[in-house]
């Protein structure tokens, strides 16, 4: 346990490295592409158009303000998926560093989570502005936003740490992640509302820690409600995953340079 705490305090010593890794990620993501940074905003908008069309025109629903309903789910989902998929390769993709210089390896997956954290914040800020400009009301319940964001971030860090360390010796982790996230999109109430289904289905959905997180984002922005107390389940799962992640990473850390 003490060793894991050491890992965390060391990250603080290398905060400048973390800063430059994030900066490099943000800069090089769209370098050379025509639209550049605009893609960060365009991607959710395009998703909105497609999913909006499929899930309100082709398959009509009874949800008010469906566009914002979708965006409240899409933006956090994109944060989730981007953090996880880029983190899986964070150790292997940086093998040149890992084999030759000492630094706390945790900064590698962490830098990916932080990169998309920033992405998400910017996206959500814009969502908020557009929401207000379109005449919608926002309430004091928005102050719960940081809480939900932190729970989601803890969840993602835990998963990122586990996956990137396993990927070093088991390369099919990336295929597994791809499939699980494809399924996960539909097992999370992003394009639909959980309440439109039977209680059995709702129970199944509630096993997914992201379900309550996304419902919470919607609650505080769209409905001016406090997050459902069930979000404590997500918090619980997230903390377990974080602890597990730190433990697995710590154990496998020592063999990274040899395995790569």
């Amino acid at each position: 346990m003490k060793n894991i705490l050491n890992d965390i305090t060391e990250i603080y010593k290398y905060k400048t490295m973390l800063y430059y890794l994030v900066k490099r990620n943000l800069r090089s993501r769209y370098k050379g592409s025509f639209l550049g940074f605009l893609w960060t905003l365009l991607t959710p908008l395009l998703q909105l158009v497609i999913y909006g069309f499929v899930f309100s025109v082709l398959f009509p629903n009874e949800i008010d303000n469906f566009s914002f309903f979708l965006l409240c789910g899409l933006l956090p989902w994109n944060y989730f998926i981007s953090s996880i998929t880029t983190s899986v390769d964070s150790i292997v993709g940086n093998s040149n560093l890992v084999k030759k210089i000492y630094f706390p390896r945790l900064v590698l997956p962490l830098s990916n989570v932080i990169t998309y954290f920033i992405d998400f914040l910017m996206g959500f800020a814009i969502l908020l502005i557009v929401f207000i400009l379109m005449g919608n009301q926002i309430g004091i319940t928005l102050i719960y936003f940081p809480l939900i964001l932190i729970i989601q971030t803890i969840l993602q860090c835990g998963l990122a740490f586990i996956l990137c360390s396993l990927y070093v010796s088991m390369r099919d982790i990336s295929y597994i992640v791809n499939i699980v996230t494809m399924m996960g999109f539909y097992l999370t109430p992003i394009v639909y509302s959980a309440v439109s289904f039977s209680s059995d289905i709702q129970l199944l959905l509630s096993l997914n820690p992201l379900t309550e997180i996304i419902e919470a984002y919607r609650a505080i922005l769209l409905y001016g409600e406090m997050p459902n107390i069930n979000i404590m389940y997500s918090l619980f799962v997230s903390i377990i995953l974080l602890i597990l992640g730190l433990y697995v990473f710590h154990k496998l850390n020592k063999t990274f340079a040899e395995e790569l």
């Binding site: 290398y14 490295m17 090089s28 000492y102 630094f103 040899e258």
Partner: protein, 247 residues
């Protein structure tokens, strides 16, 4: 004469497991599809040594003798199979140059990126920035993307950063093999400067000139064990003789 021990290694063993046909996928492991035969190779056998503060030590030996592995263990990149290591002070291992360099970023930006991987804060880097730029002799090219640098420029910048990281113990792995004579001279001058400041230096090198001229002590590692450990000139001569007679 200060005789503080800064590095103490006791009974260090390091083995690697070499796989023939390693199972890299989950299914291969579960179904035992690949033979997964493995052979345990002992790279370092019972290494024990003590290095004092300010000592300049050369580690010599043929390729594959375990020198680089020893350095990696001292830098915490690889961990021992058994044995203990006790190190006092900050260690910087220069095992490769330019790690983390991004071709699209300028030399100046890469200084910050690379130096931060060594654990320096922005403030630290600001304070040594000019020293690094001067040492690299890149002048205006410092603000050009690294992509356009010649290999010589690249090396000069990379070394300039690595050598200016403030460390108590410096481990250098054969980086003198690259770069022209001028560059090598410059590096040695800088190392002499550091030597005078009391930095403990360990050099892995094949260059017996550097060993005799610059180092006070040499450790000859052969096939994973210490064959000889003593005065740099003596050990280096014996090593040179053995190389002459072996092939």
């Amino acid at each position: 004469m200060k005789n503080i021990t800064v590095i103490k290694i006791e009974n260090l063993f390091k083995s690697f497991v070499n796989y023939y046909d390693k199972p890299m996928m989950l299914k291969e492991r579960i179904l035992r599809m690949k033979k997964g035969e493995k052979k345990v190779v002992e790279i370092l056998k019972n290494i024990s040594l003590e290095i004092s503060k300010g000592e300049i030590t050369a580690i010599i030996g043929s390729n594959g003798s375990g020198k680089s592995t020893l350095l990696k263990i001292l830098t915490n990149i690889i961990y021992p199979t058994s044995g203990t290591i006790d190190i006092q002070g900050k260690v910087a291992g220069i095992l490769e140059l330019g790690a983390g360099f991004h071709p699209d970023f300028t030399g100046r930006e890469n200084i910050y990126i690379n130096a931060s991987i060594w654990g320096l804060s922005k403030k630290d880097i600001d304070s040594i920035l000019n020293e690094i730029i001067d040492f690299s002799e890149l002048k205006d090219y410092i603000d050009a993307p690294v992509r356009v640098y010649s290999s010589g420029m690249y090396i000069r910048l990379a070394f300039a950063i690595a050598i200016n990281v403030k460390a108590d113990i410096l481990l250098i792995d054969e980086v003198f093999a690259v770069g022209d004579a001028n560059f090598q001279k410059k590096c040695l001058t800088k190392l002499r400067e550091l030597k005078n400041k009391g930095v403990t230096i360990i050099l892995v090198t094949h260059d017996s000139g550097i060993v005799k001229e610059f180092c006070s002590r040499a450790i000859w590692i052969s096939d994973g064990s210490i064959k000889l450990d003593g005065n740099a000139v003596d050990v280096s001569m014996k090593y040179d003789e053995s190389v002459k007679f072996s092939s």
